[in-house]
């Protein structure tokens, strides 16, 4: 049955009546972006220290876990705004549905708080610890006791914390992609490659964000190299995604039309691929080879690319539908 066109009784809140069956808007773009970014922050912060074998001396890295927490809280704030039944938000934490990536995500987000907090506590320099001790002592003796315990625990279990943050961060990065990728209904998203794509994008945006801070030269170089790897991985996963469109079944072919000649082609290839990936990769290659001082240009481009990737994918995915296959 080759349908040339379809006419619908306009009663339903229906994709073909309202062109974008959009339920997730800017709030989710913000969340996905910050989620990815925080995933990158946690993974890379932990990785840098695991690589160095000792605590970093740069102030940026010291505060990074707390910055991550602040950013993820912002992200969760955006998530909360998106909820249609806000007073039921606690319901996420009265259940665990293994088939639902969103349920996984809810709990991962919860675990991040103690993990990153304790990592941050352990990262604080002696100076800062004294300062904080001083403030707290004035307020409450019991709290001071708790504080001392946290510092002690965090120091003792430093390695565990590093690995925990790395794994949980990776989990955060991957699940956001799988959340979209497991939706069979949205044919544009429906691919497992979205998981690693979002993770590598998160790593790249995380690295970019960290490069905006004053870090050790050595740490910066490492981040730039890792970022190059992350960008390469991202390009690879995007290539895989496109291959699965072009070389896939009818649904996949139709799904890919948006990025390959359709309405999203221009923004995707300019903002995401060129500005967000290829140009930064080139710039970084030059910066590393020529040992040039690093500017903010590369990180900013990467961050723009990261937001664009999520915004475009979110919009194009929600528009895509099996109805398109008629």
């Amino acid at each position: 049955m080759n349908t040339d066109y379809v006419e619908i009784c306009p009663t339903a809140y229906h994709k073909m009546v309202e062109h974008a069956h959009e339920v997730w808007g800017w709030e989710i773009v913000v969340y996905l972006f910050l989620g990815g970014l925080v995933a990158g922050l946690l993974v890379l912060t932990a990785a840098l220290e695991l690589r160095a074998g000792e605590r970093s001396k740069s102030r940026g890295l010291m505060w990074m876990p707390f910055i991550a927490l602040a950013l993820i809280s912002l992200g969760m704030g955006a998530l909360f705004l998106d909820l249609h039944y806000k007073i039921h938000v606690f319901r996420f934490y009265l259940a665990f549905q293994p088939s639902s990536p969103m349920s996984w995500g809810a709990w991962i987000l919860l675990v991040i708080y103690p993990a990153a907090f304790l990592l941050g506590m352990g990262s604080l320099s002696g100076d800062w610890r004294e300062r904080i001790n001083g403030w707290v002592e004035k307020k409450s003796k019991r709290l001071k006791g708790l504080l001392d315990w946290s510092f002690e625990w965090a120091d003792e279990h430093r390695r565990t914390l590093l690995w925990t943050n790395l794994v949980v961060g990776a989990g955060l990065g991957v699940y956001t992609g799988l959340l979209l990728g497991t939706m069979v209904a949205r044919i544009h998203w429906n691919s497992a490659v979205l998981g690693p794509l979002f993770l590598s994008s998160g790593l790249s945006t995380g690295a970019a964000f960290m490069l905006l801070f004053k870090l050790d030269k050595d740490e910066q170089r490492a981040l730039v190299r890792w970022d190059m790897l992350a960008i390469a991985a991202e390009l690879f996963f995007i290539a895989l995604m496109l291959i699965s469109f072009v070389g896939g079944n009818h649904a996949a072919q139709v799904a890919g039309e948006g990025l390959l000649g359709g309405k999203w082609t221009a923004p995707f290839w300019t903002l995401v691929v060129m500005l967000g990936l290829v140009v930064p990769l080139l710039l970084e290659t030059v910066e590393i080879k020529r040992r040039l001082p690093l500017t903010v240009v590369t990180p900013v481009l990467i961050l723009i690319g990261g937001v664009s990737l999520r915004a475009i994918l979110l919009a194009s995915g929600q528009e895509s539908c099996f109805c398109d296959l008629r």
């Binding site: 040339d4 066109y5 006419e7 009784c9 306009p10 009663t11």
Partner: protein, 686 residues
């Protein structure tokens, strides 16, 4: 429900306080309103024919009774001349009795059903649609002749997108094939009909090739469908449709349909037309109507519609203009008829309403007619009142009772009460000699041998079934005098009037001028709504709240419009200076006046009528020479707060009518419109 709780419902009697049409009213109590109406109407006690009643719906029986007692013959409804009048006349001339309502078609047993223009399934006559669904489930094949791919066309084996106005050519060609290939019911034709030989001669040259040049339907298709129709006899129904007032030759077209049914022997046979039985129910005893009634005033002076079965509603309107008819109509009582939208040429209706001495409207909603009335009386809805017992002719004869399920809201009153109160004040109390309507209903039922309590409980009582088909032994009676089906109508031949030929003739229809980019305007119904009556119903409108104009895809692409774009339809009109007949078109017509043969130079150009803005539906489902919209939108009554301004009014564009010379019906499918692009209205409601 949407009607019962409609916040815009008429709540209290209203008396006009500003000039007519301004919709400025004062709420009064019933006594004041009724006294006022009675006082005004009593002016005509000596000349009761000056009062005209318009009535539509079961609830109108009380008012018909009232005005008959008063002594006026002028009782009309748009459902005749504007709707099915031509069909009734055609069937009366052919079979001896009008088709009536509901039309007694036997679809569940049909093997082939042919629809000429009917869009059953979009016009939601509930029982008939159920019958159609049953027919389909029994494997009936459908042939749909319609310039538009309607819902029922989507279920048809053959869709014939015919050029509008050429249906008679198709019907004659079908008769040609059926006679030539001997696909007619010879026994039935011999036994029950007269005029077959004349018909055979008449259609001898009406070949499928001849018809193709007129209808644009390919000859092979005409032959194939003719074979399908003939081959299924006698369970082959050519459905007569319902609103048949199209082009002015409508009685002849319906005669052709009636004749075709006779050829295949479907009338009185299973799968065709059953012969309905009407339950016997005596009238309530009231004194006979004593006043001698004048002739109705619905014909203009000098006009003669020899076979009109019913009063022409638009004629009653024209009689308001002094000197038009044999006498003038001075007052209207309007029950449930939204005349500004139901009658064609709304400008003329407006002028008539301005001239009348008195208008009283009985209605449930503040439809446009109430805005023009001097007194508005709010009737209770169908959920809040008793109506008279319905005893229509049907397959199984039955009695049905409309009874209240809730008390009337606001200060609305049931129709029987309003009519009785008026009668009491107009000296006609003896015609309503009952205190309560339940007394009336009980008496009638008991006289007929039925139980009121039983009817109240069941809502419907089935009465004695009777044989429906000739096969079951029914002895059919046809035309008086001959007792035969009159294929050739001697009566019509005797009338010796143009357009009243004894066998249907085909004449080329006037066509929209392609050079001026005109399209024929067609209109129809939505299954969700009942004419314009329910477009204020917020519940129903949550599903369908506006109409759109269907434009052929290629035309739309040429005009660079697409779905959702806003356009305005423009109807240009020329009036013949000699006879007043209207012609449609942007350029001065080149042909002489179709009414009086005056030269086109005599034509006077009118100001073009522009529709409300309406959105486009770009579709493949319609011919490129027509556009289509659903009727009933574009209300401008201030009281209809939801409906007001939604969609566009097709009624406004009905400036031109083509009058049927046989019975005076007004064909409304002859309006040609141009399409102009426009911007979305300020508060574009959706």
């Amino acid at each position: 429900m949407g009607l019962l709780y409609d916040p815009d419902r008429l709540k209290r009697p209203l008396i006009r306080r500003d000039k007519r049409g301004s919709q400025v009213f004062e709420e009064v109590d019933w006594k004041t309103a009724l006294d006022h109406v009675a006082e005004k109407l009593s002016k005509y006690t000596a000349t009761p024919e000056a009062l005209a009643l318009y009535s539509h719906g079961y609830g109108g029986t009380w008012f018909k009774h009232l005005v008959k007692a008063f002594g006026t013959p002028n009782i009309g409804a748009p459902s005749d001349a504007q709707c099915r009048g031509s069909r009734e006349t055609a069937f009366a001339l052919t079979y001896g009795s009008p088709l009536g309502s509901p039309e007694h078609v036997d679809m569940p047993h049909s093997r082939v059903i042919t629809f000429i223009g009917s869009h059953l399934g979009e016009n939601m006559h509930n029982t008939q649609v159920q019958d159609l669904a049953t027919a389909i489930s029994h494997g009936a094949q459908l042939i749909v002749v319609d310039p538009r791919f309607s819902t029922v066309a989507g279920k048809a084996r053959h869709w014939l997108p015919i050029k509008p106005g050429t249906d008679i050519a198709l019907l004659l060609a079908w008769m040609h094939v059926i006679i030539k290939e001997r696909l007619y019911d010879r026994e039935y034709v011999e036994q029950h009909t007269v005029g077959f030989d004349e018909l055979k001669k008449h259609v001898e040259d009406k070949t499928p090739e001849w018809a193709f040049t007129r209808t644009t339907i390919a000859p092979e298709v005409i032959v194939e469908t003719a074979r399908l129709i003939g081959g299924a006899r006698p369970a082959s129904l050519i459905h007569p449709g319902r609103r048949t007032a199209w082009h002015g030759d409508d009685t002849q077209r319906l005669r052709a349909i009636a004749i075709l049914n006779a050829l295949v022997g479907s009338y009185g046979r299973k799968g065709g037309f059953y012969i309905p039985a009407k339950p016997e129910l005596p009238k309530y005893p009231t004194p006979p109507y004593s006043r001698k009634r004048a002739q109705p005033a619905d014909w203009q002076k000098g006009q003669n519609y020899p076979f009109a079965d019913s009063i022409l509603a638009h004629g009653l309107r024209d009689a308001v203009f002094p000197g038009t008819a044999d006498y003038d109509i001075k007052a209207w009582l309007v029950y449930g008829c939204n005349l500004p939208l139901a009658l064609p040429q709304p400008e003329r209706t407006r002028e008539a309403m301005e001239k009348l001495d008195f208008i009283v409207a009985v209605d449930v909603l503040p439809s446009e007619i109430t805005g023009w009335a001097d007194v508005v009386l709010p009737e209770a809805t169908y959920l809040e009142r008793y109506d008279d017992i319905a005893a229509p002719p049907y397959r199984e004869p039955y009695l049905a009772l409309r009874q209240p399920v809730v008390e009337p809201l606001h200060d609305s009153k049931p129709g029987w009460w309003i009519a009785r109160e008026l009668a009491n004040r107009m000296g006609l109390a003896e015609y309503f000699p009952f205190e309560n309507v339940t007394e009336y209903l009980q008496t009638r039922l008991e006289k007929g041998g039925y139980d009121f309590a039983e009817l109240k409980e069941k809502g419907v009582i089935l009465t004695e079934p009777q044989p429906l088909y000739i096969e079951d032994g029914l002895e059919p009676t046809f035309c008086p005098d001959t007792n035969k089906i009159e294929i050739y109508s001697q009566k019509m031949a005797d009338a010796q009037m143009p357009g009243v030929e004894p066998l249907p003739h085909y004449t080329d229809p006037e066509e929209p001028n392609r050079a001026d980019e005109e399209f024929r305007l067609l209109f129809g119904r939505s299954p969700v709504h009942t004419f314009g009556r329910t477009t204020n119903n917020r519940f129903l409108s949550s599903v369908v709240s506006k109409n759109v104009v269907w434009i052929n895809r290629q035309i739309a692409d040429e005009m660079q419009v697409t779905c959702g774009d806003w356009v305005v339809l423009v109807n240009d009109t020329w009036t013949c200076g000699t006879c007043g007949k209207q012609h449609s078109g942007k350029s001065r017509p080149s042909a002489k006046c179709s009414g009086c043969q005056a030269e086109p130079a005599e034509f006077v150009q009118e100001k073009p009528v522009r529709s409300d803005p309406i959105q486009v539906k770009r579709t493949r489902r319609i011919r490129s020479d027509c556009v289509y919209m659903v009727h009933g939108y574009g209300h401008d009554s201030k009281g209809l707060k939801f409906a007001r301004g939604r969609g566009a009014s097709d009624a406004k564009l009905m400036t031109r009518v083509q009058v049927d010379p046989v019975m005076g019906g007004t064909g409304m499918n002859g309006n040609f419109v141009r399409i102009e692009k426009t911007t979305a209205p300020k508060e574009a409601q959706s």
